[in-house]
């Protein structure tokens, strides 16, 4: 037993450090095991159907009714969303920002799931011959599903966002900005209420008077600023809006434009401010929702709320490109101390029912060199 224990520990160590021989063994085993899996699928299908017929009929009927209602609601949303998407893409093209549409995708089908209660992985029918590599993010129509952890010539293993080992950098986008639109508030170019302007003005060496005309949520608003400042000022100079602080107004629709002032009147066009905070999303295993940690309440972000959107941040070291929908905040877990609250996230993708998936041909810099 001791020999076996030591052998196992040695194998774990070698495998965790990465070994081409063991990867080859896995690939070979995958080929050898495939016929067993296909045969078992064929043989057990009737049993599964009987079991499903007995246990799931009532649930399916109920779910069908709910889905029909949701479908009716979403038909209306779809039209608005398509319009918003087109505008978003136009704006991104204007600003030369990367978009998911720029990335190549490989369509895959889920062909198997892990037989373990601890591992949250699925197997898909695309591999290195299709350009799939370790670390690439996997999505479906709803949002982020996971990432490739093993890539073989014909198949790949996808670690789901619910796996204990899954971590990805995300941002939480507050919907508060959208709610503020009715009635249209008077705001400064950075989204600060006019009430706070005296304080802000103290920090600036100029006197600013602002009137704002706000268009519907998430669209461009036009702001007219009159200033007596003899020098040029820019909006990031306002307190709390430090570039790279993680609180970037206008992130969804684009970057905030700086306002340049002359000695007389300057007209500035700025984007609708949308606040956000960044954190790390960790999987918490089957039956538990993933959580976002390192979230900190800030003046700009305020308290995170149930229903806030969670999207990937992107960035040089991120596991995924920016702005992939991950889910919505389902619960807020208050954690004492300085670490900040944790947010439970309901994934957009139905992790329990994955069928068709897309592998984004985007390899994070942290995974370069992986097979």
């Amino acid at each position: 037993m001791l020999i076996l224990l030591l052998t196992s520990i040695m194998l774990i160590t070698i495998d965790l450090r990465g070994n081409a021989l063991l990867d080859g063994a896995r690939s070979g085993f995958d080929y050898a095991f495939r016929p067993f899996e296909i045969a078992a699928e064929v043989v057990t299908k009737p049993v599964e159907r009987v079991w499903s017929g007995v246990t799931e009929v009532d649930d399916l009927k109920r779910e069908n009714e709910i889905l029909r209602e949701q479908l009716d609601q979403q038909r209306a949303d779809q039209i608005a969303n398509q319009n918003a998407l087109a505008e978003n893409q136009e704006l991104r093209a204007l600003l030369n920002l990367d978009s998911l549409a720029d990335l190549d995708k490989v369509p895959c089908s889920s062909i198997g799931v892990s037989g373990s209660n601890d591992l949250q992985v699925v197997e898909v029918d695309c591999g290195t011959t299709d350009g799939v590599r370790t670390g690439m993010p996997v999505i479906n129509q709803a949002g982020l599903v996971g990432k490739i952890t093993r890539a073989y010539p014909e198949t790949s293993v996808v670690m789901l966002v619910t796996d204990l080992s899954y971590h990805v950098e995300v941002k939480v986008v507050s919907e508060e900005a959208a709610e503020e639109e009715e009635p249209p508030p008077s705001t400064s170019p950075t989204g600060f209420p006019l009430d706070s302007l005296p304080d802000i003005a103290d920090d600036l060496s100029s006197t600013t008077t602002t009137t704002t005309t706000t268009t519907p949520p998430f669209f461009v608003s036009s702001t007219t600023t009159s200033t007596t400042s003899p020098i040029t000022t820019t909006t990031p100079a306002l307190p709390g809006v430090v570039p790279g602080s993680g609180v970037v107004p206008g992130d969804i629709t684009g970057t905030p434009t700086s306002s340049t002032s002359s000695t007389s009147t300057t007209t500035t066009t700025t984007l609708k401010p949308v606040t956000r905070e960044t954190g790390v999303l960790d999987g918490y295993g089957e039956g538990s929702l993933p959580r976002v940690r390192l979230i900190d309440s800030s003046l700009q972000f305020g308290e995170a709320k149930v229903g806030d959107q969670v999207l990937t941040t992107g960035g040089r070291t991120s596991q995924a490109p920016p702005n992939i929908p991950v889910g919505v905040v389902a619960n807020i877990i208050e954690v004492p101390g300085v670490a900040g609250n944790q947010l439970e996230v309901q994934p957009s993708a139905d992790i329990g029912r994955l069928n068709f998936l897309m592998v984004l041909l985007y390899q994070p810099s942290t995974e370069l060199g992986g097979g």
Binding site: M1, L4, L5, S8, R26, A40, T44, G112, G115, N117
Partner: protein, 175 residues
């Protein structure tokens, strides 16, 4: 040790383990009692221990664990420890009792499977996973244990065939 095993039981244990793993990954992924995947391969490793003793059980568990790791993408050797330990523990039944009964075998298979299932997150914790222990472990372990006990009715004879062990036969002494 391994060479001897190759000539005896490995050619049977490996394909049988692959068949059971295929069943676990297809049938029992959809048919989950209380939301738990029944661990057929783990139960088979424990059953091998019941019929073959601690040493054979541990080796069979080790091999079955390697098969599971190769298939699931988990670090190679991590499940081998869990299944090897399950086979080893269940094998003590063979030491303490020569002619076992079906219900005693079921209890030992269930108990050893519970230990094996609990070891999986423990090992994941040791390899650096922070949140390896989840609250649903309290459901997973008992369900795996009970299902393994039930499956032992089928798996113990299968393990006996795979390890080529004849059931003990009591003969009356000649007069």
């Amino acid at each position: 040790m391994f060479a001897a095993l190759w000539h005896s039981s490995l050619p049977r244990v490996v394909p049988l383990g692959m068949i059971l793993l295929a069943i676990q990954k297809t049938l029992f992924v959809n048919l989950q009692p209380f939301g738990v995947i029944v661990q057929v391969v783990l139960a088979f490793a424990a059953s091998a221990g019941v019929v073959g003793g601690p040493e054979r059980g541990a080796i069979a568990g080790f091999v079955l664990g390697l098969i599971f790791d190769l298939s699931s993408g988990s670090p190679l050797g991590s499940t081998s420890i869990a299944m090897g330990m399950a086979g080893y523990l269940a094998g003590w039944l063979d030491v303490i009792r020569i002619d076992t009964t079906w219900w005693l075998a079921a209890i030992f298979v269930g108990g050893a499977s519970a230990v094996g299932e609990f070891l999986v997150p423990t090992i994941r914790r040791f390899v650096g996973e922070e949140n390896a222990f989840t609250p649903d472990l309290a459901t997973v372990v008992p369900v795996v244990a009970v299902s393994a006990s039930i499956l032992s009715l089928v798996l113990v004879p299968l393990a006996r065939w795979a390890l080529q062990i004849e059931p003990p036969v009591w003969k009356a002494p000649r007069e």
